[in-house]
């Protein structure tokens, strides 16, 4: 007689395994404990580090995206007297920005931002203070994640002509116009240095907290007083060289970033008489670095999960071997009735499989609970990735399988006669 219906045989074994587990709840729980803890540890750990990473991603998205390359001026002379070339340099200029944009046109640079900082006396009807003024150019607003809440943003005409207009962050607005509702601020006059400007808009409030109980790390962005960079250069600092404090390029294609940053570097170095008085800041790389810390945590969590699975696996082997003594006779009877060793092996493995599955389900629940608790404590929103579940169950399955092998082999290799005589 040939065995028929393979899946039927599997279902029979599964049913028998279920009866075996159900009839020995204490032993089964003990055996599944390692799987539960391992799965919980891997899933929980991964989810916690995922949640952290998601939060970091959110931060960078709020900062205007990660696909940015910043060019910043630096000191050329750290010690001693500057050389002739160094003193002749004017630092980062508008020329660098426009030429860089030109260079990047083929490299998928789709936005350029220019920033020119100044400090000036800023006066309104209500306040008179020394305040930072940010001269902005080109795509500054979009590239830095600002949005207009009231009024309008800078038009290209404003930026090109250096028009005397200003857009305020909410905090700056409340400093200079404490009694006015935001919509009433638009159109109000403001005096920056000696230049009278008109407020044309207010930025939306910026806010980001890594954890719920931490301070708003974007608060400083609410203090911005933004004017066209041309206005700062022409009428405030009176700089004929159009020096700027930051140039930012956006390159959505991160693969092109490395190439572009190298070429940009040589372009700017050329413009600066071969002096390296600037630095490039690759935001994507910065984020990657932050993320790689997460990868280390993931590795640690996975290791601790593996340790739990290992410990649990050893307990499992012990329990299985101990229970095997009770079951020797049963195995002998099955063998006498014609079950080959392979059948005994399969039935033990099926039991282990079922145990691993059930343990994993409980482990999932424990892991979610664990990740939920920890993320609540550190105040980060919980994020569960399908991949974490996959990793957890994959590891559990591998260890469940490996540790089930030995008892199953041992059981299946018994001599039927000795097994039957076993008391």
């Amino acid at each position: 007689m040939k065995p028929r219906g393979r899946s039927g045989a599997f279902l029979e074994r599964l049913h028998e395994a279920w009866i075996e587990l159900r009839e020995n709840p204490g032993r089964s729980v003990l055996q599944a404990l390692g799987v539960m803890l391992g799965v919980a540890s891997v899933l929980g750990g991964f989810s916690i580090s995922d949640s952290q990473r998601q939060q970091t991603e959110r931060l960078f998205a709020r900062l205007g995206g990660v696909d940015k390359l910043n060019v910043l001026p630096t000191d050329t002379v750290y010690d001693g007297k500057p050389g002739a070339l160094q003193s002749a340099n004017r630092g980062l200029t508008l020329q660098d920005a426009t030429e860089g944009e030109e260079l990047g046109r083929e490299k998928a640079v789709n936005a350029t931002s220019v920033q020119k900082d100044a400090r000036a006396r800023v006066r309104s009807e209500f306040a008179d203070r020394e305040h930072a003024v940010t001269g902005v150019g080109a795509d500054f607003v979009a590239l830095n994640g600002y949005e207009i809440e009231q009024g309008r943003g800078f038009s290209s005409h404003d930026l090109a002509t250096g028009a005397p207009v200003a857009v305020l962050g909410v905090q700056a607005a409340s400093v200079f116009f404490p009694t006015d509702p935001p919509e009433a601020i638009v159109g109000k006059p403001l005096r920056i240095g000696d230049v009278p400007v008109t407020v044309i808009g207010v930025f939306r409030e910026r806010s980001f907290r890594f954890r719920e109980d931490q301070e708003n790390i974007m608060a400083w962005r609410n203090r911005i007083v933004a004017v066209p960079s041309g206005l700062v250069a022409a009428r405030m600092t009176g700089d004929p060289y159009h020096r700027v404090d930051r140039v930012t390029f956006r390159i959505p294609d991160l693969a092109a970033m490395t190439d572009f940053s190298r070429e940009l570097s040589s372009l700017v170095t050329g413009n600066h008489r071969l002096q390296s008085d600037f630095r490039l800041d690759d935001v994507a790389k910065r984020m990657e670095k932050r993320m790689s810390q997460g990868a280390v945590y993931n590795l640690i969590f996975m290791l601790s999960g593996i340790l739990a699975l290992l410990g649990g696996g050893m307990v499992n082997v012990n329990v299985q071997l101990a229970s095997l003594k009770e079951r020797v006779r049963e195995v002998g009877v099955k063998m006498a009735l014609g079950a080959p060793g392979s059948e005994i092996f399969k039935s033990f493995m099926t039991e282990a499989l079922l145990l691993t599955l059930l343990g994993s389900v409980v482990g999932f629940a424990l892991g979610i609970l664990y990740a939920w608790g920890i993320t609540r404590i550190i105040g980060v929103p919980l994020s569960l990735a399908p991949l974490s579940f996959l990793w957890a169950i994959l590891l559990a399955a591998v260890f469940g399988f490996l540790f089930a092998l030995y008892p199953a082999l041992k059981a299946s290799r018994q001599s039927p006669m000795e097994a039957l005589r076993y008391e």
Partner: protein, 235 residues
């Protein structure tokens, strides 16, 4: 037709070589023939090699030497899986301690040999119910063995032994754990099965039980002790 045919069957335990003094010679050359439909009682004192012979006849153990043919199949030299298949197909065991699986229902216990043989679910069920009815337990189908009396358990074991319509029913002290009344009932059942044409080998140390069989084979010190030898011993 011959069901069992052994020639010079030898079983030796321990001992690293042929003439090792430490070796235990459990069987020392058994020639045994059992014809189809016979009921044979295998008797002998403990230590005579009875259990060893029973294990080898039941394909639970392999002989050290000699040949064994069961229902036309050469058995010696076969590997574990093949022996398992032969046990499944050709032999029905009845043990002294019943050896029912305690966590499986009566029905499942009887179905088990058919499960290993790959019989379809429906046929398994039908045959198991039929067998349980035959041994007089049609209403205990879904109970666990623990709920049955010793005699009932042995009936279930007999039903299980018959599941794959074996060529040989091998019973090892089947009444050893029963009182004389239920023991008699079980023996009657064996008689009935024999009358229906089943080949039965009954291992026992009880001469009264052995007397029920049409042929008795006595084992002493690993050798068959037939009438001829008995005369020689007397002389």
């Amino acid at each position: 037709m011959r069901i069992i045919e052994t020639r010079n069957l030898i079983k030796t335990y321990g001992g690293r070589h042929e003439n090792d003094g430490n070796a235990v010679h459990a069987l020392r050359g058994i020639d045994l023939d059992v014809e189809k439909g016979e009921m044979v009682a295998l008797i002998g004192p403990s230590g005579s090699g009875k259990s060893t012979l029973m294990a080898i006849l039941g394909c639970l153990d392999a002989p050290t030497g000699g040949s064994y043919t069961l229902d036309g199949r050469q058995v010696e030299g076969l590997a574990g899986a093949e022996l398992a298949a032969i046990r499944n197909e050709k032999i029905g065991f009845v043990f002294q301690q019943y050896n029912l699986l305690p966590k499986a229902t009566i029905l499942r216990n009887v179905e088990l040999p058919m499960l290993y043989a790959g019989v379809s679910r429906r046929e398994r069920r039908e045959r198991a119910l039929d067998l349980l009815a035959r041994v007089g337990l049609p209403d205990k189908v879904n109970v666990l063995p623990g709920a049955l009396s010793g005699g009932q358990r042995q009936r279930v074991a007999i039903a299980r032994a018959l599941a794959n319509r074996p060529a040989l029913l091998l019973a090892d002290e089947p009444t050893g754990a029963l009182d004389s009344k239920t023991g008699q009932e079980v023996l009657d059942l064996f008689g009935e099965l024999h009358a229906q044409g089943n080949t039965v080998v009954l291992v026992t140390h009880d001469p009264k039980i052995a007397a029920l069989a049409e042929r008795r084979v006595e084992l002493r010190d690993g050798l068959l002790w037939d009438g001829e030898q008995r005369e020689k011993a007397a002389a």
